[in-house]
C-alpha cells in the first residue's frame, strides 16, 4: 500500500509537548499553568441566552459570514472599543474560533513560495498554516530586552523580495508583550515601504492591563493592508464555543469568505448567539475577569521574581514568560523536571518558536490559591536543583 499521507502533512512537526501530556495524565494533583484558556466559566447571562435559543429551535446553518446581528455587534464593538471601523456587510467574517480565522487569512493571501514573517515566540498554529498554504514561514525574533515587542530592526533584517506578509499577535501568547501606537508606527513604515500585508491576531486585546490595547488597523496607512483577527475565547471565557472573526478590506474578506464557506460553511449558531449576548450584556463580567487576571499577574510575577526567575511584568494576555537560564537547565529540561518532581505543568518556550528557548510559559489563568501553591512548589523545585 502507498503511504497516503501528503508530503505537506508529513512535514508538519508533531506537537512538542506530547510527552508532557503523557506524564501529566499519570498524576492526580497537577497544577497546570500549561493551559492557554481562562479558568472561568462563560458568564451565565451568555450561556443562558444560548440555551434559550436552542430551546426555541435555533439549530440551523447561518449565513456563511455569520448572523447579521453578530456582525453588526462586532462592527459597533470594534469601533467603540478599539476605534477601528469595519463594515458589517462586507468586511467581517465570523469564524470557528480565531484558529480558523488565521488559517483562512493565511490561505487567502499566500501563494506558493511567498515568505510570511511570523513574530516569535508565538501561538503554535501560524507556522504550520503558512506551510500548508505553500508559503515559507520566516521567524522574526521578539526579545526579552525589548519586553518582547516587535522592533523595526528585527523586522527589517528578515524582509526579502519574496516577503508577502507579517503575522503578529499582540498582546502576545506566550510572552504577554504588547505593542503601543509608537511601536506600530515604526513597523507600519516598513510594511508600507515593502508593500507588505499585516495579519494581526488580537484575541488578547481585551486583556491589556496598563493602558488600552492599540489595534494597528487604527493607523490609516495600515487599515488597507491589515487583516485583523479577534474572538471571544479569551476575553469572555468562551473557548469551547469556537467563535472568532476576521476583519479586512472587502477584496480580502471576499477571498477569505470563499475558503471559509467551503471548509466551515458557517460558525456554530449556538456560539454566534452566545457571542452576540456577550457583546450585548457581557461587558461587566468581562471587566471583572480582566481585573482578576491583573491581580493574578501581580501575585504570580512577584512570586517568580522573588524566587530568582527573571520575569518582566507582562502588560497583556494571561501569560508570564520567565527566563529559566539561571537554573542552568534548558526550558524543556526545566519543564519536564518541574512536572515530574513538583507536579506543576508549564510549557517550554522553545515549543512556541526558537526564540522562546530559555523561557517557560506559565498561564496564570488559574485561581490565586493555585498560583500561590505553584510558586511554593516551584520554590521547592529550585531549592532541590541548586
Amino acid at each position: 500500500m502507498r503511504d497516503f499521507v501528503s508530503a505537506r502533512a508529513r512535514a508538519i512537526p508533531p506537537s512538542g509537548i506530547r510527552k508532557f501530556f503523557d506524564i501529566a495524565q499519570t498524576m492526580e494533583d497537577v497544577i497546570s499553568l500549561g493551559v492557554g484558556e481562562p479558568d472561568f466559566v462563560t458568564p451565565w447571562c451568555v450561556c443562558e441566552a444560548s440555551i434559550y435559543s436552542i430551546e426555541q429551535g435555533s439549530t440551523a446553518y447561518t449565513s456563511n459570514k455569520g448572523t447579521p446581528q453578530l456582525r453588526g455587534a462586532i462592527s459597533r464593538y470594534l469601533d467603540t472599543r478599539f476605534r477601528t471601523r469595519y463594515d458589517a456587510e462586507d468586511e467581517i467574517i465570523v469564524t470557528c474560533g480565531v484558529s480558523e480565522a488565521a488559517d483562512i487569512a493565511i490561505r487567502a493571501v499566500t501563494d506558493p513560495g511567498d515568505e510570511v514573517l511570523v513574530a516569535e515566540p508565538c501561538y503554535v498554529s501560524y507556522t504550520p498554516c503558512v506551510s500548508l498554504a505553500g508559503g515559507v514561514p520566516v521567524p522574526v525574533r521578539c526579545r526579552a530586552d525589548d519586553e518582547f515587542r516587535l522592533t523595526a530592526d528585527a523586522l527589517a533584517e528578515s524582509i526579502t523580495r519574496k516577503t508577502k506578509a507579517l503575522i503578529a499577535n499582540f498582546p502576545n501568547n506566550p510572552t504577554g508583550g504588547v505593542m503601543q501606537e509608537a511601536d506600530w508606527r515604526a513597523i507600519a513604515d516598513l510594511l508600507v515601504d515593502h508593500d507588505l500585508l499585516l495579519i494581526s491576531d488580537e484575541v488578547y486585546g481585551e486583556l491589556t492591563y496598563d493602558g488600552d490595547h492599540f489595534s494597528p488597523a487604527r493607523l490609516p496607512e495600515l487599515r488597507e493592508r491589515t487583516i485583523t483577527l479577534n474572538g471571544f475565547s479569551k476575553a469572555f471565557a468562551m473557548t469551547g464555543w469556537r467563535i472568532g472573526y476576521l476583519c479586512a478590506p472587502p477584496e480580502i474578506t471576499a477571498a477569505a469568505l470563499k475558503i471559509h464557506q467551503y471548509v466551515a460553511l458557517c460558525a456554530p449558531v449556538m456560539g454566534q448567539i452566545a457571542a452576540y449576548e456577550a457583546l450585548r450584556i457581557g461587558e461587566a463580567e468581562k471587566d471583572a475577569m480582566v481585573r482578576e487576571y491583573r491581580l493574578r499577574r501581580n501575585l504570580f510575577v512577584d512570586g517568580l521574581n522573588k524566587l530568582g526567575l527573571a520575569c518582566h511584568l507582562p502588560k497583556g494576555a494571561f501569560y508570564a514568560f520567565p527566563s529559566v537560564e539561571s537554573t542552568g537547565m534548558t526550558d524543556t529540561e526545566f519543564a519536564e523536571s518541574l512536572l515530574r518532581e513538583q507536579h506543576v505543568a508549564v510549557v517550554p518556550g522553545s515549543v512556541l518558536g526558537p526564540s522562546g528557548a530559555g523561557h517557560v510559559r506559565c498561564a496564570y489563568a488559574v485561581s490565586r490559591d493555585d498560583l500561590k501553591e505553584a510558586i511554593s512548589r516551584i520554590g521547592a523545585f529550585l531549592d532541590s536543583v541548586k
Binding site: F20, Y123, A345, V347
Partner: protein, 163 residues
C-alpha cells in the same frame, strides 16, 4: 474613594484575612500605603466589620431563619426611621431594609426554632405601634449567601495543556 481603595475593598470583601503584604502585591502599592488606606477606610466606616460567611447548616447548627415583611404606617417628620431603629435593636434581627413594593420593611430574623421566631414576631414585632401587617416566610434552604454559592458544583476537567 479612588481606584486603589476600590481594589482593596473588593479584596477584603472576598477575604478579609488576606495579609497586608499580599494586598500590596496584588494592588500594586506599598505595604505602608495599604496599611494607611485600610485604616482610613475603617475610620470613615466604609469598612464596617470583618466577618466570615458561615454556612450554619453545614456547621451543624439547628437555627432557623425567616424573612419577615412588615407593612408600616410612616410617622410625620420621621418616616420609617424611628420604627426601623426600634426594630434593629433586637439581636434576633440579622438584617433590616426599607423596600419598595407591596410592603415596607424586610427583616431577616434568626432563632433556635420556628416556634421562637413565631413568638418573637407575634409578641415583639406585631404589637409595636404603626405595624399594620406582618408576613413571616421561613427560609427552607440557602443556595447563595453574600456572593458565595453553598452547593458545590462539580468542575469540568480542563486539558493539562493547550495553546
Amino acid at each position: 474613594m479612588d481606584e486603589k481603595d476600590r481594589i482593596l475593598l473588593h479584596l477584603l470583601e472576598e477575604n478579609c484575612r488576606t495579609p497586608e503584604k499580599e494586598l500590596a502585591v496584588l494592588a500594586e502599592m506599598s505595604e505602608q500605603d495599604v496599611h494607611n488606606r485600610i485604616g482610613r477606610l475603617e475610620a470613615t466606616g466604609a469598612i464596617r466589620r470583618y466577618g466570615a460567611v458561615v454556612d450554619w447548616e453545614q456547621a451543624g447548627n439547628g437555627n432557623v431563619a425567616a424573612v419577615i415583611e412588615l407593612k408600616v404606617s410612616p410617622e410625620r417628620d420621621f418616616g420609617y426611621d424611628r420604627i426601623a431603629e426600634r426594630i434593629a435593636r433586637f439581636p434576633q434581627v440579622r438584617s433590616l431594609r426599607l423596600m419598595t413594593g407591596a410592603y415596607d420593611l424586610q427583616l431577616l430574623v434568626a432563632g433556635p426554632s420556628m416556634h421562637e421566631i413565631a413568638r418573637f414576631v407575634s409578641e415583639q414585632i406585631a404589637p409595636m405601634d404603626r405595624i399594620r401587617e406582618t408576613a413571616t416566610h421561613i427560609i427552607m434552604k440557602t443556595y447563595k449567601e453574600n456572593g458565595t454559592t453553598f452547593a458545590e458544583r462539580e468542575g469540568v476537567e480542563r486539558l493539562p495543556y493547550s495553546f
